[in-house]
Every structure is written in C-alpha cells, then in structure tokens.
C-alpha cells in the first residue's frame, strides 16, 4: 500500500473517516496528475479539522473528493456510517445536503443575477420542495445568524456586497440546509485581515450554534490554528503530520511543518524575520519524487529518504509524523 499510514485514525467513533484516498487526473499522453496519493484522516463529531499546506498540495481536491465531486480514484469516505463512494446518484444528492462546502472566492461563487434571498433559498427549494413561509423564515434566520439584516439584504444582488459580506452569504447558503459537516475551502484567503477575523469568529459561532463539524482548509498555519481542534499538514498529495494545533506549534516534528511555521509573518518588529525559507518549487505532481515527497526541498534529507516512503507513526500521544528523521519532541507532553 502506498499510503502514509493510518495509526492516527480513531476508529468507529468518528463522524467522517477518509481512508487511503487517492485522486488522480489524466494529464494527456498517458501522464497522470497524482493530486492526492493515499491519505487518511478522520473527524469526530463537533470537531474542526484543519487541512494545511501550500498551493497545489491537494487540499481542495481532498475536500471535493469527500463530497464526491468527483468521486475519488480509490479509497473510502465514510460519513455517519454511510460509504459515500458507493452511493447511488440519488442517495448521494440527498447525503450531500448534510455535507456542504464553501469556497475561497466568495464573490464568484454567487450567481450575480439572483437576489440574496433566492441564492440562500436555492438548496431549500431543490431539496425540500419547501417553498413558502417556512423557507422564508429559515432564510431569514440564517441570514440573521451570519450577521446580515434580512430586511436590508434579501432583495439585493451579490455585486452590492463586499468580499466579506459575500462570504457571509455563502455561509448562510450552506447553513440553510442544516448540514452536519461544512467543508470550508480557504474561506478567508481572499479577505483582508480585519474581515478574516470577522469570518473566523463567525465560523466558530456557527459551529457552536448549529452543532457543526468543520473541515477548515487554508495555507496559513496561524489561521488554521485559530479555529482547529486537530490539524493535518499536507504536502504534494501526502500527509506529513497530524496533531492538535497547540502541539503542532509548540513541537513541530516534520521539517515541512517547521517551514510553514517560519513562513508566518510576525506582526512584531522585534521578532527577526526567520532565515528559514522553503527552497525551490513544489515538484510536479505528474512525476512526484520517490520515497519522501518532500525530500527535494528538505534540509534534513538523507539517502534513505529517496529510497523509502516514511509512514505516519505516533511519536507522542496523539501526535503523528511521516518522516524518517523527525524533530525530537517531548514524549510526555500533556495533550495540547
């Protein structure tokens, strides 16, 4: 098996389990894009799982594969006891209402010609044949929940709103269907820091209020850390490290996690800019490096790294790393 290991899986108690997920895309002339190559993770009910890694590492592909948009090339996605990859089209359409997704570019993911109330109600009319008063009530409720005044916004169209407000509309549109899980794909990457803070706080509130389980995708570990209960660090279609966010920050074990941490711009002039910088470019996913995929950019690379793929292993309680030569971490850390 080409997987990076599954010791970090928590078994049957999880609401969602993704196992050995593979997603490949044809790239012409028999070439294949190895977008995601055998990753596994699970999410407990009420948890926020952060997925972090640089552009092109397969975060969005993973999120979409969970929704079966499209179905993965191989592997399993179990959601609330149901194997998503085996569902009929109709069952899948029903199940998907309980797993919603919001995207990075809020403005372009809203139909510019429709009114806000119709955009938010869209799912309702498709799924519940639920026209009339209850639908209007539900739409008003979620708009209000995301901090938009239904009376003011209902009849307006998306272009009259800022990026942050459009993201609120997207969140309302996802909430209206009473989903269990929302996959948030870089929901704040296109927003200013000030608006980003509003949306991060809002997601935390919505999670609380509606008992949501979240997948939160981003490239900035500081952002991911703020909202997550558990973080999966990805690189070029593989999992590097899994841990609680505070553990990951205090004791990063994987050299790639080190780099992600060193890249966060510190709003503190007394904090010298780290001289650690990731070298080079992400290798092509058409022809990924043998062994450890990070080896072409790793400061700690040895011969073994090109020969053998590191499997995910537990190096401290609830702290997992896929690296032959991880950083030392205290073994007795008391959770995170």
């Amino acid at each position: 098996m080409a997987g990076t290991g599954k010791v970090h899986m928590r078994g049957t108690e999880a609401l969602v389990s993704v196992e050995d997920l593979v997603m490949e895309f044809p790239a012409g002339r028999r070439a294949v894009v190895h977008a995601v190559s055998g990753i596994s993770f699970d999410i407990l009910e009420g948890e926020t799982l952060g997925l972090v890694g640089e552009s092109g590492c397969g975060k969005s592909t993973t999120g979409r594969a969970m929704m079966q948009l499209p179905s993965p090339t191989a592997g399993s996605v179990r959601f609330d006891g149901v194997e998503m990859t085996e569902l009929s089209k109709e069952d899948l359409r029903r199940t998907r209402t309980r797993m919603q997704m919001i995207f990075q570019d809020p403005i372009s993911s809203l139909n510019p010609r429709r009114k806000v109330k119709d955009i938010v109600a869209e799912g309702l009319s498709i799924w519940h044949n639920d026209a009339g008063d209850t639908a209007v009530q539900k739409v008003n409720e979620v708009l209000d929940a995301v901090g938009l005044d239904p009376e003011v916004v209902s009849d307006r169209r998306p272009h009259q709103f800022s990026g942050g407000q459009c993201q609120r509309i997207c969140i309302a549109r996802a909430l209206v269907l009473d989903p269990k899980v929302i996959i948030c794909d870089e929901p704040v990457s296109a927003l200013d820091v000030s608006v980003q803070a509003q949306i991060l706080n809002l997601l935390e509130e919505m999670k609380e209020r509606y008992g949501l389980t979240l997948v939160f995708i981003a490239h900035d570990l500081a952002v991911v850390k703020n909202v997550s209960d558990r973080v999966v660090v990805m690189y070029l279609g593989k999992v590097c490290e899994v841990a609680g966010p505070d553990t990951l920050y205090a004791h990063p074990a994987h050299p790639y996690t080190d780099v992600l941490l060193a890249s966060i711009p510190e709003p503190d002039p007394d904090h010298p800019v780290s001289d650690r910088q990731i070298t080079g470019e992400l290798p092509s996913p058409i022809n990924p490096p043998s062994g450890c995929r990070f080896r072409t950019r790793c400061e700690k690379v040895q011969d073994l790294c090109s020969e053998e793929e590191p499997e995910l292993r537990e190096i401290a309680p609830d702290h997992f790393v896929a690296c032959h030569f991880p950083n030392e971490v205290p073994v007795s850390v008391n959770g995170n």
């Binding site: 570990l221 890249s263 910088q277 080079g280 992400l282």
Partner: protein
C-alpha cells in the same frame, strides 16, 4: 552639509473620481516622504485608497480621476505633474516601477516570458535583441527562477503564481528603477511563497539600493520589512511612524484594531479574535468628523463633529490623527465612559459580541 532632499515627496495629495454616484474621494490629503533606498509600508483595509495613492504617484490613473490643485508629488526634486508626455513615458520603468497583487494584470498571457522582459529592456534602454536577451537571463537568475533559459520560452500560464510574480519583479527591475512600488505583491500567494517573495524583494533592494513602497492589508507583512509604516483609513493617513515606534506605541485606534485582528500563531487555538466591526465608510459621502468613529470603541462626541488632523506625538517622526490616542489617560477615560453606557457616542454597541 544640507540634508539631502528625499527621493519622493508627496504633499497633500488628493485624488478624486468622478463617478455616477458622485465625487468619490479615494485619497484625501495624504503627505509623506521617502528617502533613497528606504522602505515604507502602507497598510490599510481594502478600499482605503492604497492603490489609488500609488497610482497617483505613478501617474497611471483612469481618465475619470480629478487631482485638485495643491496636490504635489516630487520625485528626485522634479514635479511629476510637469513632465512632458515623452518624459513621462520613460519615467515608469527607468525611475519608478510597479508590481501588482495579481501578476497576470501586468503580464500578457499570449506572449512568452522572455519576449515580455526583453520588450521593456529594448524600449527603455534601446538595447539590441541580443543584449536584451542577455539582460533578461541575468534578471531571471537574479529573481531566483530555476532553469531560466527554459522559462524564458514559456507562457505565463505555465508558471506557478510565485514564479509569475518573480517574472513581474524581473520586468520591474529591468531598468534599475530608483523606486519600486509593490502593491500587495503577496496577497494572492500562499504564506510559504509570500515569504520567498518578501525575502527576494528585501535582498534585491539591498543589492540595488532601491527605495520601496510596500503595500499590504496585513501589519504582519510589513513589521519585519519596512523601516517606516503609514496606516491609511478611508483615504487618509491616520498614523505614521518608524516601524518599531508604531508597534511599541500604537496611538491610533485603527492601527490597534488592525493589529488585534491578526490571528497569532503563538496564541492558543480558539482564541477569539478582536475583529473590527463594520466596514469602512462610503467615500462618495461628505464625511464629517473622524472617519473611523462608527467602528471605534473610544468614540466621543468630539469625534463625530470634528475631524482630527495628523499631528506630531512628540516622538520623532511619529504622527497620528486621533483625539483620544491609545495609551493616553483620555483614551482610558473614553473607553470607561463608553463601557459604562454600553454604547459609543457614534452608536457602536460595545455589549454585543465584537463580530457581526
């Protein structure tokens, strides 16, 4: 010896736009100077006028722009408004150059990278094709593009976002400008690539002795990169200081609010962020009083009726525009008064959660 004149002097710059909704005051009286080789960071939320400010400096505004009399921009001692057309044409590129948030806005999608770099070299320096190609290669190496020969023959879409931004930097540097304006050069990139590009800009700047204006919405980006920082809000500069002073003695409530909204990696997860509620004002309106008042926790009656001017704080080079500066006793009193009633003079509800 007389002090050397700054490379760039911006004096009471105002840039208005004639729009169907009325006159939009995008930049409304901004002044600052920049020395040779120095970096200033300009920080503010989307729509605060950062891009219009530097576009005014570069003289690349759309035709609906109005620059009222009294606005002045001197570059190297020359009034840029008095440049003749032909002078102006060579001004960009050789004297000042600019890179943008989205590298695709300055790259032509249907032309090979090499052609785009050499075109600008040939145009400005009158170099031969051969010379231009050699210079292009040199630049590609300088901006850290691997396999530069191969890359020169590729189209922009064949490059990653970070590589594209390196190409636009190469084009900007082609003619050794004295001033590089970087308008949110890393906002569209992920943090690891952002770090690479910021490191690259810093080392190029040191090597070439250019001055730089670095624009961002994230105080974290400029903290380690700029010697001085200007904070803009609704078309005005509300605080300027050298970087260390700004972070240690933040005076303006808006600067403080921007700073507090940054998620800090050293904070525990699920730490609630101090978001700034609301949005910047519509700049078509005639704004009275302090423009930040509707969102400010400290706002008092005076803030609604009077407009605070930028004034010296007493610390060298530190100027700010607030009646109740953060850290002052007046500020503490203002906050206490607002908290006692639960509402500011401008109607901001302090009891509600800080978000929505």
């Amino acid at each position: 010896m007389a002090a050397e004149r700054p490379l760039l002097e911006v004096e009471n710059l105002r840039t208005y736009f004639d729009t169907p909704r009325g006159i939009l005051k995008a930049v409304d009286g901004v002044s600052f100077t920049l020395d040779k080789g120095e970096t200033i960071g300009i920080v503010g939320e989307s729509g605060s006028g950062k891009s219009v400010l530097v576009r005014s400096i570069m003289n690349i505004l759309t035709s609906n722009a109005i620059i009222p009399d009294g606005s002045e921009v001197f570059f190297d001692g020359k009034d840029t408004r008095n440049l003749s057309r032909s002078e102006a044409k060579h001004f960009w590129g050789t004297q000042m150059a600019m890179i943008f948030q989205d590298p695709m806005t300055s790259l032509n999608p249907v032309k090979k990278v090499g052609i785009q770099i050499t075109e600008s070299i040939r145009y400005h320096l009158g170099a031969s094709k051969q010379e231009a190609m050699e210079r292009a290669l040199e630049l590609m190496v300088q901006v850290g593009i691997p396999e530069p020969r191969k890359r020169l023959k590729e189209y922009p879409h064949q490059l990653s976002g970070g590589m594209r931004q390196r190409v636009t930097i190469a084009i900007a540097l082609a003619c050794n400008p004295k001033l590089l304006i970087a308008d949110e050069p890393t906002t569209a990139l992920d943090v690891t690539v952002q770090k690479q590009i910021l490191d690259l800009l810093a080392s190029l700047q040191e090597e070439l002795g250019m001055a730089m204006i670095l624009i961002t919405h994230d105080l974290g980006v400029v903290a380690g990169r700029a010697r001085r920082i200007g904070v803009m809000y609704a078309g005005k500069m509300v605080e300027t200081a050298d970087t260390t002073t700004l972070f240690h003695h933040m005076n303006h409530p808006y600067t403080e609010a921007l700073f507090k909204s940054i998620p800090r990696v050293e904070h525990q997860s699920h730490t609630r962020l101090d978001a700034i509620s609301g949005r910047p004002p519509d700049m078509v309106l005639d704004l009275v009083g302090c423009r930040f008042a509707p969102r400010c926790r400290y706002a008092q009656e005076q803030c609604i009726t009077d407009e605070p001017d930028l004034f010296d704080t007493g610390q060298t080079g530190h100027r700010q525009a607030c009646f109740y500066p953060v850290g002052s006793p007046e500020n503490a009193e203002a906050l206490a008064a607002n908290q006692a009633t639960g509402i500011t003079a401008a109607g901001l509800d302090l009891t509600a959660a800080a978000v929505s």
